[in-house]
Amino acid sequence: MSLVDVQNLTIRFETDEGLITAVEDVSFHIAPGEILGLVGESGSGKSVTAKSLMQLNGGNTVYDPASRIALNAPGSDPLEVLSLTQERDMGPIRGGAISMIFQEPMASFAPAIPVGKQMVEQLQIHTDLSKAAARDLSIEMLDRVGISEAAQRFDQYVFEFSGGMRQRAMIAMALSTKPKLLIADEPTTALDVTIQAQVIDLMKDLVAEFGMGILFITHDLGVIAQTADRVAVMYLGKLVETGTVRDVIRAPAHPYTQGLLNALPKLDDLDAPLVPVPGDIPGPLERPEGCVFHTRCAHAIPGLCARKTPLPTPQGPGHEASCHALEGNQGLLVRGPL
């Protein structure tokens, strides 16, 4: 049974310029102990999708009536997240069943409250622990994520922490309530590569230990290759390809996934030319009809791709891509070089 099962998620925002579609007809699921990587460029709707799991999007958000987000946290009743309308019903989900790690840890801790106090505060909201027990658990978690002298660090403020330490402290805080699902939104993007490598190792260890599911959001395919079990590629609010990391990176089926991989500088092949994906990402108000990628696609079929939305087509076990050129195994696409 999936931990979280998202079906036909469509999210629109009401703005002064009209209704903007941010996410359209997105379906995915995450099993306990599984890491699903969500990859896409800026503006593709990754963060909006993730925030919808906790209903954290703003007041101008409109969820399509067909959208379903089923949360089956072990040990509690199945829950339909989008059917919750009261803020108080969201409490057990936000920070309880689901925790989130953000990109910029400096902006996510309160600057004028010691880090430890913030950790204790959320533990007291979500658990029955006494203040002393919450303190002990927090120090234990800080120690667990590799922060030395955790008992002293507990009383320090976030500005006294280095960048890598802040991100570790946020991971410690997110995991201390033992969430069933962890959402990590670009958790290593603001870090240097040597620190990023440490944080990735740490997260993989903790998944193995706690057995939670992770939705790992990033724009970096290398980070995905090293962390995720499965990957979902997003472009302009649509999932264009999903599959195991090996399948998607070694045999990308969708022209956009192929384009992303060809545009990436690779250290093991310095002679390979960098091939940009032609054109620019359309603005939110110029959302293309039919296949959202057709305006930049070299394989677009005239008269078809600009009109009709492609449906997910199987490419192999657990591997799907939404592209007209792949339908009916016409084999129109030249596979990428990987």
Partner: protein, 333 residues
């Protein structure tokens, strides 16, 4: 290195910044750069890499006289004009601006939202009084805009109408309109999406060839640097630890820090063997750098000498230089 004469020649450069104020006496100094000696050959695409706080931006700025030269010299000579950057007069500084320019990181912050694209690109010409008439300015703007693959109809629009990639092409056109010979590109593709990044990198390379430019390309992304640069210098805590032709550096890194940096890049191959070299700990504060080799606190190969004696850059063969006491003893990665 190569026989090409250097466009920028740096000797024993130090850049110090005061840390706060003292009531009596001089304040403590933060040594952002120490003992930098470096030649940037004319026509090269010279890469500068390092983690945050390594001083790569400060070095780029010092060459453009946007950071104080506390010790040492920076010579600039592009064949048509020469400047001694640390000591030049205000008048020379003005002339120098036409020769050396900067492309910024964030194309969203670097363009004034209230100016048209034409005015943005024309501003350096007007400020430096390089053109005699409006027609001449327009001609120069159109010429460079075309070279940067900007649609000439877009010149009348404002920046908000453009995507990140187009904005970066506008900032490149602005940097190049005065006809500089030397351009510092500081993290110029870091804010761009992967699909656009390749386009900008290809544009910079073709502009280098077409306009005979020299680029100092500052980046934290080693795979990008490996693809575009001919020569790469690696910095750690304000010092150069290794300089080498790009291919050599990425295939046979000599310095333990370069090795660790390369092995920390996440591989696209999901089955790649987990690299053995994970660096422990974090970069120490530049306000109190470790004595001796600044990397010794995190170096897997550090010995007693490393904490006492600062290693100097020495020739490592194949046109490279490395600053490590024991590089010969360390097996090639």
């Amino acid at each position: 290195m190569t026989s090409t004469p250097p466009i920028v020649s740096i000797k024993d450069l130090e850049v110090h910044y005061p840390l706060g104020r003292r009531l009596l006496g001089p304040p403590p100094m933060l040594k952002a750069l120490a003992g930098i000696t470096l030649d940037i050959p004319r026509g090269s695409f010279f890469g500068l890499v390092g983690e945050s706080g390594s001083g790569k931006t400060t070095l780029g700025r010092a060459i453009l006289k946007a950071a104080p030269v506390s010790k040492g010299t920076i010579r600039y000579d592009d064949g048509s004009a020469a400047f001694n950057i640390g000591t030049m007069s205000t008048r020379d500084e003005r002339a120098f601006r036409a020769h050396a320019q900067l492309i910024f990181q964030d194309p969203y912050a670097a363009l004034s939202p209230r100016m048209t694209v034409r005015d943005i690109i024309a501003e350096p010409l007007e400020v430096m009084a390089l053109t005699a008439s409006r027609d001449e300015t327009d001609a120069r703007v159109r010429e460079i805009a075309a070279k940067c693959r900007l649609n000439l109809e877009h010149l009348r629009r404002f920046p908000h109408a453009f995507s990140g990639g187009q904005r970066q092409r506008i900032s490149i056109a602005r940097a190049l309109v005065s006809g500089p010979r030397f351009v510092v590109a500081d993290e110029s593709v870091a804010a761009l999406d992967v699909s656009i990044q390749a386009d900008i990198l290809n544009l910079l390379k073709s502009l280098r060839d077409e306009l005979n430019l020299t680029f100092l390309f500052i980046s934290h992304d080693l795979s990008v640097v490996a693809h575009v640069c001919d020569t790469v210098a690696v910095m750690y805590l304000g010092r150069l630890v290794e300089i080498a032709p790009s291919r050599r550096l990425f295939q046979v890194p000599r310095h333990p820090y370069t090795k660790a940096l390369l092995s920390a890049i996440p591989s696209l191959d999901p089955d790649a063997p987990k690299s053995a070299q994970r660096l422990e700990g974090e970069v120490p504060s530049p306000a109190a750098p470790p004595p001796g080799c600044r990397f010794h606190t995190r170096c897997p190969a550090a010995r007693a000498k490393c904490a006492e004696v600062t290693p100097l850059l020495e020739t490592s063969g194949e046109g490279g230089q490395v600053a490590c006491h024991f590089w010969k003893d360390l097996a090639p990665a």
